[in-house]
Symmetry: C2
Subunit: 270 residues, 2 copies
Amino acid sequence: MEKAIGVFDSGLGGLTAVKELSALMPGENIIYLGDTARVPYGSRSPETLVRFAKQDLEFFFRQNVKAVLVACGTISAVALPVLKEMCPVFIEGVVSPAAKRAAEVTKSGKIAVIATNASINSGAYCRELKSINSEFTVTEKACPMFVPIVENGYFGRDSKVAKLIVKDYLSEIKSSGADTLILGCTHYPILRPVIEEFLGDGITLVDSGKEAAKAVCEHIKNTNEENINGGGKNVYCITDEPSGFIHLAELFLNRKIGDEVKKVTLGEDC
Amino acid sequence: MEKAIGVFDSGLGGLTAVKELSALMPGENIIYLGDTARVPYGSRSPETLVRFAKQDLEFFFRQNVKAVLVACGTISAVALPVLKEMCPVFIEGVVSPAAKRAAEVTKSGKIAVIATNASINSGAYCRELKSINSEFTVTEKACPMFVPIVENGYFGRDSKVAKLIVKDYLSEIKSSGADTLILGCTHYPILRPVIEEFLGDGITLVDSGKEAAKAVCEHIKNTNEENINGGGKNVYCITDEPSGFIHLAELFLNRKIGDEVKKVTLGEDC
C-alpha cells in the first residue's frame, strides 16, 4: 500500500483536519490516531504533554507514514519543536498555518486567539504572530470548558450552557476590537455557530485544523509525494475502546467508519 | 514509620475522603495517589479503567500500605471486584458504604444516584442498593459535566453555569420523589450548595467519599491496626506536575501541603 499521512489528536477534534485533507486529496491514505484513553490534553503540564506526544509520534514511525499532521492545538503549541527534531518525515502542527492565515486576513492588525490552557500558557500563537509582524496586537484567552461542553453535546446554536460559557470566555475578545479570531484548538469549530452569533459579523474566524491540512497538502504536492494510485483508505486508531468514539466520529464525519476503527497500544506511560 | 493508609482517585475529588479520614483518625499516615496525568476517569471504557486501576493499586503495594480506600466513584463502581482479588490488604470503595448509608436514611425507599457515565453504566450502585432491599426504587443519572465544571471553577452558589447544568441533570431526580440522593462521585460534594438549592429540603444527600472513609476507619479500629504512635503524616503523590494540583488541593483542604506533594510514575500504560 502507498504510504499514508499520519494525523493525530488527543480525541475527536483532529477529525476536522482529516475531513479537510480528504477533501483536498481524496486519493491519500490517512492513519488517524486519537489518544482517547488520555483525552483531554489541554490542561496537562508541558512535561507530560511532551511525553505523550513522543509516544503518539513513535506510533506513526511504526506505521512508516510519509508525513505527520499534529491536529492537536495543545501538542502543536507545546511540543512541536521536540517532535520536529525526532521526526524523519515532514511534520506540521496547527499553530504556524493558522497564524499565517490570520496575518493574511486581518486588516486592523488586531488578532485574537482562543485555545486550551496549555496552548495559551505556552505563548506559541502570540510568538508566531509577532514573528510575522511585530506590530500585531494579540489578545489571547484560554477556554478550558470548550472541549468538555463539545464532548458532552452542549454545542447547538440554542444551547444555553454553550451561550453562557461562550459569553464568559469571549467578552474580552469582543471588546478588544480584533477583526480576526484563531480557533486554536481543533474542537472549537464545532462551537462555530454559537461563537459567530456572539461575536457578530465584524470578525473572521480562522480554523486551525483546516489551515494545517492545507499546509500538509501543499507540501505533499510540492514534493511530488502524492498518491497517484488513488484509493484513499482511512484507518482510525484509538487508545480507548472504540464504541463511544465511533458514534461521535460518524456524526462528525457524516459517514460510517465502524470497519475502519481499531484500538491500539502506545508506549510506556505515566 | 508506621504503615500508611492508601487513598486514590483520578484527581482531586478523593481529597474529600482524606479530609474525613484525617478528622476521624488524626494519627494515621495517609498516602494519596491522584492520577492527574490521566484525569478524568469518568467517561473511559471499563477495560481502560481496570488497566489504570491495577496500576494505581500496584503503586500502593510498593508503598506497603495497611489498607486502601478507593476514593474514586468510577473505579469503585467498575473495577473494585478485580482490585479486591489482587489486593492482600483491606480495600474498600465508595459504592457499598454509600449504599448502606442511603438505605439507613431513606424513609420512602425512593433513592436517587448521580455519578459519572462509567459508574452509572456499570449498574453498581443500583445492584448494591437492591441487594440491601429489593423493593427500593432507584433513579440513576449520569452527570458527565459535573467534574469539568468543578475543575474549572464553576461551582459557586451563584454560578449560572452550575445552576443550568444542575437543573439539566437533576430535574428528573427532583420529580422522581426520591428522599435520598447519593453523590456517587467524590467531586460532587463541591457542588453541594447548588444541588441543595435546586432540590430543596425534602431530600438528604449522601457523600460517598465520607461514608467510605468511615468504613475504612471502622475496619482499622476493629482490627486494632490503629497507629498508636500518632503523628499523622500525609504524602500526596500525583502523576502530572504538582503546581496546578497544589493550588487547588490547598484551597480544598484549607491548609498548605506544598512540601508533601511529589510526582510519581505508574506502570506501563495505554
